[in-house]
Structure formats: C-alpha cells, structure tokens
Symmetry: C2
Subunit: 239 residues, 2 copies
DNA sequence: TTTTATCATATTATCAGATAATATGCAGAC
DNA sequence: GTCTGCATATTATCTGATAATATGATAAAA
C-alpha cells in the first residue's frame, strides 16, 4: 500500500514524526489541555490525528511515559499522570514548562533552586575540585571573557562555567541540575544578549575563590552572582 | 507464524517484555557494561537476545532515550550517552544506580542533596504553606506515630511527611526531589525497619515549627533530623 | 439485596514483514 | 589531496495481523 503522505501540519522544525508527536503531546499535557480528568485519545485516534502509524504513536507514548507524563495500560488506555509524577528536570519537560508558564513565575522558581544549589556547589568545588577540574572552570571563564570582548554569544561558555563548578563538587546528583542552569541561561540570553558581560567580574570572583580554595568566599561569591542576576532579570521581565 | 514463547529468563517480576527489556538494558548501562566507547547492539541483535520483536525493542530504546541514557540515529545505530546526560532523578535511573553503586557512596551523595534541599523547603513551608497544606503534613505525622505504635511499616507515612513539606514550599522543582527522598527512605527501611520510630520526636519538632510559622526553627529542625539520620545510617552501613 | 462468578469487549501489547530515509565510507574524478 | 557520487547498513515508518488483559455487563448464588 502507498506510503501515507505526512501531513504538512504547518510550523515546527518537525525533524521527524516521532519527535513531532512527542513534542506536540508533551506540550498539550503541560498546558493542561490534556489532563488526568480527561479521557486521553486512543492510539488509533492519535495515529489518525498526526497522520502517523501506530508504531510511531506507541514510541511517542513510551517516551512521554518515561518522563512521567502519562501511563498506559491494556484495555484501560492512556491517561495523564498527576503533575507530581512529571520529571520536571528533564530538559524537554523543562522547556515545555518554560514556554507555557508565566515568565516571572518560572523564573522565580528556577532561581530559588539555583540559589539553593549553586553556592553550595561552589563551596564544595573549592574543597573537592581537582586541579584538572578547576582548570576547566578557568577555561570556561576565559571563553566567557573572549566572547565578551568579541561581542559574540557567551551562553555556551557561561553554561560550561556553571557546569564545571557542579562537576568539581563531585556529586552526580548535583551535576544533574545543569539542565536548570541551561534553561535559565537561555532565558537570560533571549532577554538580553549582552547581559552576561555585566556579570563577568562576579564570575571572576567565584573563580578566584575556588582557585584559592576559599570555600566560604566561593559560596558567597556565587550567591552574590545569582542574586544580582535574578535582580537584573526581574527588572527586564517587568520592564 | 506461531507466537514466540517468551523466554523464562529466570528471576525478575517480568510484568511484560517491554519493562523487562528497559530494566535489563538500563541496568547494564548504569553498570557500565554498555558504555559510550562500546558499540551498542543493533535493534535486530537486541530482538534476538530478548526474544522480542523489533517493536518492543524500539519502544524500550525510546524509553531509555527519554531518560537520557542512549540516543539512536539512522544508519549510525544506538549509542550510550555520557553520564552527564542521564536523568539521575528519574525514579528508575535512581534505583538502578542505587542497586549498583557502593552503598556508602550513594548514601553520601543522596544526603548531601537532601541536606541542601529539605531544610530550605521546611523553612519555606513555614512561610508559604497554606493551612490545608500544613494539615497534610500533620496527617502524615499522625500516620507515622500510629505506625510506630502498632509496629507496622511507616515508610509510606514518612515519605508522605517529607513530600508534604516540599509541596507546602510552593516550588514545583523542589517537589521533584521527592524521588530522592523515596529512595533514601527505602534504603533506611531495608537497613533498619524500626529506625523511623527513633526519629519521631525530631519529625515532631519540624512539624511544630512549621505550625508555629517559625521558619528558622523549621529549617534547623529539619537539618538536625537529616544529620542525625545520616549518622544513624552511616553506623548501620559500616557495622 | 448483595455478593460472586462468568463472559464479551475494547484497548493496549506483541509479532511479522515490508518500504523509506539517512548517515557513513568507499570509489572514482578532478 | 579534495570533492562528488554511489552502495550499503541501520534506523524510521508503515501495514496488518494475533495475544493479553482490564473493564463492565450479565448471570448465578448467598
């Protein structure tokens, strides 16, 4: 039988059908359009809607289930799980949430966690970081400086800086929080592409404290950096 | 053609083929038996190994990919991702990791995070918690007391207590950390089934501080509870 | 009336065997 | 050497089956 023509479906990168279905359903769930109280479309219906075969639909369902968004059962069908089950730290879920929540609210939530995690991570990095690990932090900072000088985007370097600190703290669970930071930086970059240059000196202070193995100073410098960034962003959001 | 008889494969609940394949591969990846440097088996090979059709294998692959463990690409095949991409806070990944890591190491990592998160959560709960939310904390504590009195397992109530505090802190990302606590309590329970009775008074102190809206006291009480628990567990692990 | 046992049915779970898309590496041209 | 085009291996997607299972209806029993 002739292959079905994939429906054009308008916007969206649509790298492949699977990705499209996952993103589309994921977003609908996060938005609340599909929720635990409502009956979820059957595999067959989803297939018809997306112009996809059952295989693709089922793979998408498994992908969303792995993120804690839905569960499926023989005869019962698919159902949306309560938000408490959602893997909010999953990069995709994080982005879907970010794109649907009020910016200020999401940002407040995000920075509350960052302020909880990162100062302690900086403190631990100053204590536990190997010289090699600290060198990576240094290198990331150098890249940030370079980006500031040349006026190119320093988002990647900024992210690398914060991730390197998490890595130097020697706690894998802590490192996981990198996703949060990535989203946070992405927002910051969209709001103000030069913002990170302003905060370069504060990054420097964090770095110096870690190099000096001064754990308290490192923690404080990081706390200061994050507080100031939050302030700065708040002003941008409310402006 | 006759349906293939699902291989008995020995132990394991084996609720269904899909779950079995996911758990089996997930564990192998976490263990490092399958790693980024090694070529990953092809879909066809996996199918042969597990006695499963390609559909099941592909669904399992998507499920593991959603957890950040692997990625697959046309022609290139499947590959294991670097550990930094793993969703360590996913309940399954957490359990796989727990079952393969040295207990002391895992426990240290876990409590480092809990000590970071939960005192602040308790503090915020004392400030932001609605009366209804605080009532839930109270109810969980009552259930813990009851369990202690009757000698039944209080793990569920204990988990409910800590989750209720996270919920009362009004930060969805914070709530996500409940998975960590669940694993932590599970370990504690396996090591010493009566341990939670010992810590009942410390839980009471946390609860009282939250009811009294004394945020600092709540934070300190939680910190104390966790430190003592960690101490207690360390002794058990090394004994 | 209430409970328990039986059964039909709807939906996911799994299987089988296709074709399509695509990244890789090789071979040949420049 | 570098580029271009082609063959190939592997995943991506489709199609159409059969199997397993939870649900609700129905019937039987208490």
């Amino acid at each position: 039988m002739a292959q079905q023509i994939p429906a054009p479906l308008g916007r969206g990168p649509k790298r492949n059908l699977f990705t499209h279905v996952v993103a589309s359903l994921g977003l609908r769930i996060i938005k609340g359009e599909l929720n635990p109280a409502l009956p979820f479309p059957k595999e067959a219906d989803l297939g018809a809607e997306f112009g996809a075969s059952r295989s693709v639909i089922r793979e998408a369902v498994k992908s969303l289930a792995a993120r804690g968004l839905i569960a499926s059962q023989t005869r019962t069908g698919i159902r949306v799980l309560e938000p408490i089950n959602w893997n909010l730290l999953d990069a995709e879920v994080l982005n879907w949430r970010y794109s649907t929540m009020p910016q200020a609210e999401f940002y407040g939530e995000l920075f509350e966690i960052r302020l909880l995690i990162e100062p302690e991570a900086a403190r631990l990095a100053a204590i536990r970081g190997s010289t090699a690990e600290i060198a990576i932090i240094e290198k990331a900072f150098a890249a940030m400086s370079e980006a500031a000088r040349t006026g190119t985007s320093g988002v990647a370097a900024d992210l690398a800086f914060h991730r390197a600190i998490l890595a130097a703290a020697h706690n894998a669970l802590l490192l996981q929080m990198g996703n949060l930071i990535a989203v946070g930086l992405d927002i910051a970059h969209r709001l103000s592409s030069e913002s990170f240059a302003v905060f370069l000196p504060m990054h420097q202070r964090v770095l110096d404290a870690i190099i000096a193995r001064d754990s308290d100073a490192a923690g404080n410098a990081m706390r200061h950096l994050l507080s100031e960034t939050r302030e700065f962003m708040s002003r941008l959001i409310w402006a």
